[in-house]
Every structure is written in C-alpha cells, then in structure tokens.
C-alpha cells in the first residue's frame, strides 16, 4: 500500500520536473514584442556568488564600454560623417579569460537590448564579451562593409570575420584563452557561417557556437516579416494611422498615471490591462522591421551612389530635409530590395551569379554538411518562432539532432531572458 503510494509520488514528481517550462506569454507575437516580464527573468545575482571583492567600489570601473576602431580608410559621405569608425562594445575581465563574440540581430546595434543583456550575463559568468552590430546596421554598412550593400550573407560574414579578427588583436590575444560565438536571429545565422568560415581560415578555432533563434533561410524569414505588414493593412496610410492610434493610447496612459519614467515596467502594466490584438501586434512588428530596412537601404544607397533612392549624382547635404527619402525608402519591401538593388549589384560584379544561386548561398542549407558534423555548434529556438516555417524547423532538427533545443513557446526571442533559457545558455558555454 505504502509502496504503491510512494511509487505514485515518484512518478508524479518525475512528471512535474520534466515539464515545468512556464514562460508566461503564450502568444508568439506578444512574446516577440514584450520579451520576458521582470519577475520571470533569470536572477543575474545568482550567476556568480558575491565575494568580498564586490565591496570594492572600483572593481567594475570601466569594465563595460563602447569602443570604436577604424578599419577602412575611405571617404565617408558627408551626411554620414559620424559613421566613419566601427562601433562595438567590450566587457573585459581583468585576468586571462575566454572571449565570447555576440552578433546582433537584423538591423540592430551592439547596444541593442539583447546584446547588452547577453553581455551582462556572460561577463558575470567570467567571459570577455564583445558585441558587434549586425552587418545590416547602418554603422556597419558605412564603416566596414566591403561592398556597402548588405544582405548577401557570404559577403557580410567575410566582413564580420575580418572585424572580429581586428578586435581580438586590439584587445590582445595574450589576454584571451579561447573563443566562443553566439548570435541572435540573423546574427545566429551568420554565426553558423562564421563557424564554417573559421574552419577554413582558422584564425579563432571556436570552442562553442550557439545560434539563438536563427533564420534558416534569410529570404523566407524576411518575407514573413514583410507579410506581417502587407497582409494586415491595405496601404501605408493605414499602418501609420494604426501606429499613431497606439502612440495616442500610450500618451493618454502616461499622462493619467503618476509614473515619471517611461520604461519597460510601465509598458508591461499597460499591456496587461489592454492586450493588443494579433493584427495590431503583427503590424507593429512589420512597421519596426520596415523602418530599420529603410535606414539600411538609404544608407547603402548614399554610400554606393547607385541612384536607387537618392538621384544619381546628387550629393545629400547636411541641411537637406530627408523626409522625401524616408518616404521613398519605407515603400521598399525586402523583396523589392533584393530584386531592384541587391541582385543587380551582385550581377554587376559577377555576371555568372543567378538569383537562385545567390539566395541558396544565404541559407543554412548551403552549409548543412558542416553543421551536421560539427559537434560544437548548437541551436536554441522556439517552436512558435514566427520567422520559421515548418520546413525550417524540420531542417533544424534533422541537421542538429540533439544539439537543437526547442522550447514550446517564446516567439522570436521573447524568452531569451527567461530563467530556464539563461540557465541553459550558461550551462552550454560553461561545460
């Protein structure tokens, strides 16, 4: 009798501990936008137990800071004068330590929330951490990119690789006793390509590589983002109206609350009381993506002087209103960008390239044999990540097998700060 009860308890406890993933936001779009509510985040104080050294107020002085490096000595367009150097950020240990590179997601900088967070986590865990902007981020396009036309992964990855090498030399390779690599979203995809490139070039010899919510096929994923907007609004005016209405709603809430600061927590309490509809969420994600795409397209066009947005031969001056260019640039979808700008550019320099060949080169499938056999490359993503199709997911599980960690919910990286995820990441890099 007792034995039976005991057995029951054992079974029950087994079930409970095996399935306790309760990231709270079940809607993938909501998760993508809102991330992890503060009370569900991994407690960062737990990463490293406090010691007497922590009482020294000078201990972490200047540990995390932005830096810049001049990689290409070439003239910069006058309106982009401030982008002449590559900006990146470092968090360095005082002693010799392994270095972790973090590559930002589409259109994001080395200072994006995700990068800063990962930097904080792994710096506490004892790594040197270097965050790099995405090759689709304007600063990277102007200061580093060899072609200054972003989006073609083989080119972008070569530029990333060269920058990482220069940065490692700048820090001093004698302070580094090993290299690791991670990247979020498009940065995850690029990390896989970087690992493959490093196998040939051998400048780092990466110990561990972790792809966080990577896109399997760049064009597929980006089209999904583009469609979030196209499928939900009839024209631009409607999208602008909807965003304006949301801003208005936020404004009202801010005005009537006692809150002095307009931070994340304010947003959480607000959206708790008035959840957004799926349509609104999709439009928001789509608009944010379009805006960052517009910045990229305009920047690239100004650099190449190709005459896509700015008339060819016209030099944009510092006092010139940019609104007409913004207007033109936000009307460009990613498909338009590929058809009207990226492909013609690639074909101009290499007439043998075809659309099919170029797009295939931007998919993880292009390096599948490498990924299948590389035991040091792992993936962490979510079953409901909106940028992945069912085919993408089955490709990941076929290719990575047990090295794929698939969470049931979390959207596109919404659960990155969730306690189980952070614990798993720490576990992976520490082992």
């Amino acid at each position: 009798m007792f034995r039976a009860l005991f057995a029951c308890l054992l079974v029950l406890s087994g079930v409970v501990s095996a399935h306790a993933y309760d990231y709270p936001i079940k809607d993938p779009y909501m998760a993508t936008i809102m991330g992890t509510p503060p009370q569900y985040e991994y407690p960062l104080g737990d990463i490293r137990p406090a010691t007497f050294k922590d009482l020294n107020p000078l201990k972490d002085l200047g540990a995390i800071r932005g830096r810049e490096i001049l990689l290409k000595e070439r003239p910069v367009p006058d309106i982009l004068w401030y982008e002449d150097t590559l900006q990146y950020s470092v968090a360095l240990q005082r002693r010799v330590a392994p270095l972790l590179f973090v590559i930002a997601g589409t259109g994001s900088s080395h200072q994006s929330g995700t990068c800063r967070y990962l930097q904080d986590v792994f710096y506490r865990a004892g790594f040197h951490v270097v965050c790099l902007s995405s090759p689709t981020y304007p600063n990277f396009v102007v200061s580093v990119s060899s072609t200054q036309v972003p989006g073609y992964i083989p080119h972008d990855v070569a530029d990333l690789y060269a920058s990482m090498d220069a940065i490692a030399n700048e820090i001093g390779r004698d302070r580094i006793n090993g290299f690791h690599l991670t990247g979020f979203s498009l940065g995850g995809t690029q990390s896989a390509f970087l690992a493959e490139l490093d196998q040939r070039e051998k400048r780092f010899g990466f110990g561990k590589v972790l792809l966080l919510n990577p896109a399997v096929n760049l064009l597929t994923s980006v089209s999904i983002l583009d469609h979030m907007l196209a499928d939900n609004v009839t024209d631009r005016a409607e999208a602008a109206r909807m965003v304006a209405a949301l801003v208005q709603e936020l404004s009202e809430a801010y005005r009537s609350s006692d809150e002095v600061n307009f931070g994340d927590e304010f947003l959480f309490t607000l959206f708790d009381s008035r959840p957004l509809s799926e349509k609104e969420l999709k439009i928001l994600i789509g608009v944010a993506f379009r805006l960052s795409l517009a910045s990229m397209v305009f920047t690239s066009d100004v650099c190449t002087g190709a005459g896509y947005i700015v008339p060819r031969g016209h030099v944009v001056t510092r006092e010139e209103p940019l609104s007409p260019y913004l207007d033109a640039a936000v009307s460009v979808s990613f498909d338009d960008y590929v058809e009207e700008y990226l492909m013609p550019f690639l074909a101009f320099h290499d007439p043998t390239i075809t659309r099919q060949k170029a797009l295939a080169a931007c998919s993880l499938e292009a390096i599948a044999p490498f990924l299948r056999t590389s035991s040091n490359v792992a993936v962490m993503t979510n079953a409901d990540d909106p940028i992945l199709t069912r085919d993408n997911l089955s490709f990941l599980s076929r290719t990575f097998g047990p090295r794929l960690t698939l969470y049931p919910v979390g959207g596109h990286g919404g659960n990155l700060r969730y306690r189980d995820n952070v614990a798993a990441m720490l576990d992976y890099f520490r082992k």
């Binding site: 107020p57 002085l61 003239p75 910069v76 367009p77 006058d78 309106i79 982009l80 004068w81 401030y82 982008e83 900088s109 981020y137 304007p138 600063n139 631009r236 005016a237 602008a240 109206r241 304006a244 801003v247 404004s251 801010y254 005005r255 002095v260 600061n261 805006l291 517009a294 910045s295 305009f298 920047t299 066009d301 190449t304 002087g305 190709a306 005459g307 896509y308 947005i309 700015v310 008339p311 060819r312 031969g313 510092r318 006092e319 010139e320 209103p321 940019l322 609104s323 007409p324 913004l326 207007d327 033109a328 009307s331 460009v332 009207e340 700008y341 013609p344 550019f345 101009f348 320099h349």
Partner: protein, 251 residues
C-alpha cells in the same frame, strides 16, 4: 562665456579639417525609387519645422561638439570617479533644481507637485547632507519635472517652431525663453556660497562649479547623437521630444 569661446575654437578646428571627398561607385541601380513628396499622404508623425535647414545643421554641429569635445571630457569623468561619487554630484545639482521646480509648480497652481518639491528640498538638504544623498528619491519619491517652459505652456503659450539649440539640443521657441528664466533662478543659488571670497578666488570657484555642472549635466543625459543608428534620426527625435514635452505640460 567660456562655453562660447570653446565653441569658436571648436568651429575653427573642425573647419580646417578636410577629408577626401566621397565619390559614387560604378554600379547604377536599374530602378529609381525617389518620388516627389505626396502631399495627400497623412503624416501623423510630422512636426511643424519651418527652420529645418538651420536645425539640421545645428543637429550635426551638436553631434560634432559632443564627439570631439564634450563626451571625451565626460568619459574621463566617468572613468576616474567611482559611481557613488558621480551619483552624489548629480544629487547635489539636482537638489538645487528643486527651487525652480517648486516655483514653477506654484506658478501653475499644482499644489501636490509643489509640496513634493519643497519636501524633497528640505529633507535632502538636511538629512541628505546638502543634497549629497537623494533620501526621498531612494524612498520612492522621485523628482518632479517642471520648468518655466512648461509653466508658459500650462497657461496657453504656443510652443512656436521646433528649434535645435547649440549645446542644449531639441527645444522650441517657448521653451528656449523658459530655459533662460530657469537659469536665472538657479544661478543665484550657486553664487551665494562664494560671496565672502576675493575676486580671483570667487571667479575660479565659480568656473569650477560650472564646469562640473556642465559635465554632470551631460553625464545625466543618456541621449547620444546618432546612437539610434538611423540616418533618419533627426525626424525620430523631433517627433518624440515634441510629443514628450506636450505630454509633460498636461501632466
């Protein structure tokens, strides 16, 4: 005065530097997307900006001043002083601001804000050792945001055109006037400590205080030019700063 001198110096230095000019590459896009601005499109995010040419130049100027003069100094300041000391310096200057916050709250008839401000000033000056510690702020009563520009706005003064000020950044005609009035209110408090000194000592001390104040002011503002990474940052900042101002006036 000294700031003005610095600016003149800076302009002459920047004016001399001439980099090789940027030239377009050989590739030409088969399609041109640029279109004439369509006036029929609704623009809910557009802010009236008749002085855009001047403002944009000033925006670039401020960014250069920041990059080559102001931020290097702030960075050294942040590097050599431990965080608690920096916080203490900020607290002292913020505490002095309570005077103009209190006056402006009274001018707008906002009793709650006025009493919060007065209470903060009294407690932080006494228990907080001359404002070094923000006792009430740590206890969950943060500083209110009031200034003379808001007072003018509260009584119905229109904002006037958007205006980028040298050093200070985004503003408008009304708030620029307000800035001057607030400056007068704060000026006297800083000066009165050095009353008994001789001219030379007083002048040095005042310069020292203003320099630290200027560095602390930049240290407290987290905004960095072109940190959004977007070449369209000017439009973004124009919308958000105007909107925030508008909301704070009615708060």
């Amino acid at each position: 005065m000294r700031i003005l001198f610095l600016i003149v110096l800076f302009v002459s230095v920047v004016g001399c530097a001439s980099a090789p000019e940027h030239r377009p590459g050989p590739f030409q896009a088969p399609v041109h997307r640029g279109l004439a601005e369509d006036s029929a499109v609704e623009r809910p995010f557009l802010v009236e900006d008749p002085w855009e040419g001047f403002n944009r130049r000033m925006y670039h100027f401020n960014a250069q001043l920041d990059r080559y003069v102001y931020l290097p100094v702030v960075n050294v300041y942040e590097e050599i002083l431990p965080d608690p000391v920096q916080q203490g310096v900020s607290n002292i200057f913020n505490n002095l601001k309570e005077i103009s916050i209190f006056v402006n709250s009274v001018l707008q008839g906002k009793a709650k804000k006025a009493s919060v401000s007065l209470g903060r000033f009294i407690f932080n000056t006494t228990i907080g050792v001359g404002g070094l510690f923000d006792v009430l702020g740590n206890g969950g009563i943060p500083q209110e945001q009031e200034d003379f520009g808001q007072t003018l706005g509260f009584w119905g003064a229109p904002a006037g055109p958007y205006l980028i000020l040298p050093v200070f950044g985004p503003s408008n005609v009304r708030d620029t006037g307000g800035l001057a009035v607030d400056a007068v209110m704060n000026l006297n408090t800083a000066d009165m400590f050095f009353d008994g000194m001789g001219w030379a000592a007083r002048s040095t001390a005042t310069t020292g205080v203003y320099s630290v104040k200027a560095v602390d002011a930049r240290h407290q503002v987290k905004f960095r030019y072109y940190e959004t990474g977007s070449p369209f940052e000017y439009q973004l900042v124009r919308f958000f700063s105007s909107k925030k101002r508008e909301l704070d006036i009615h708060k």
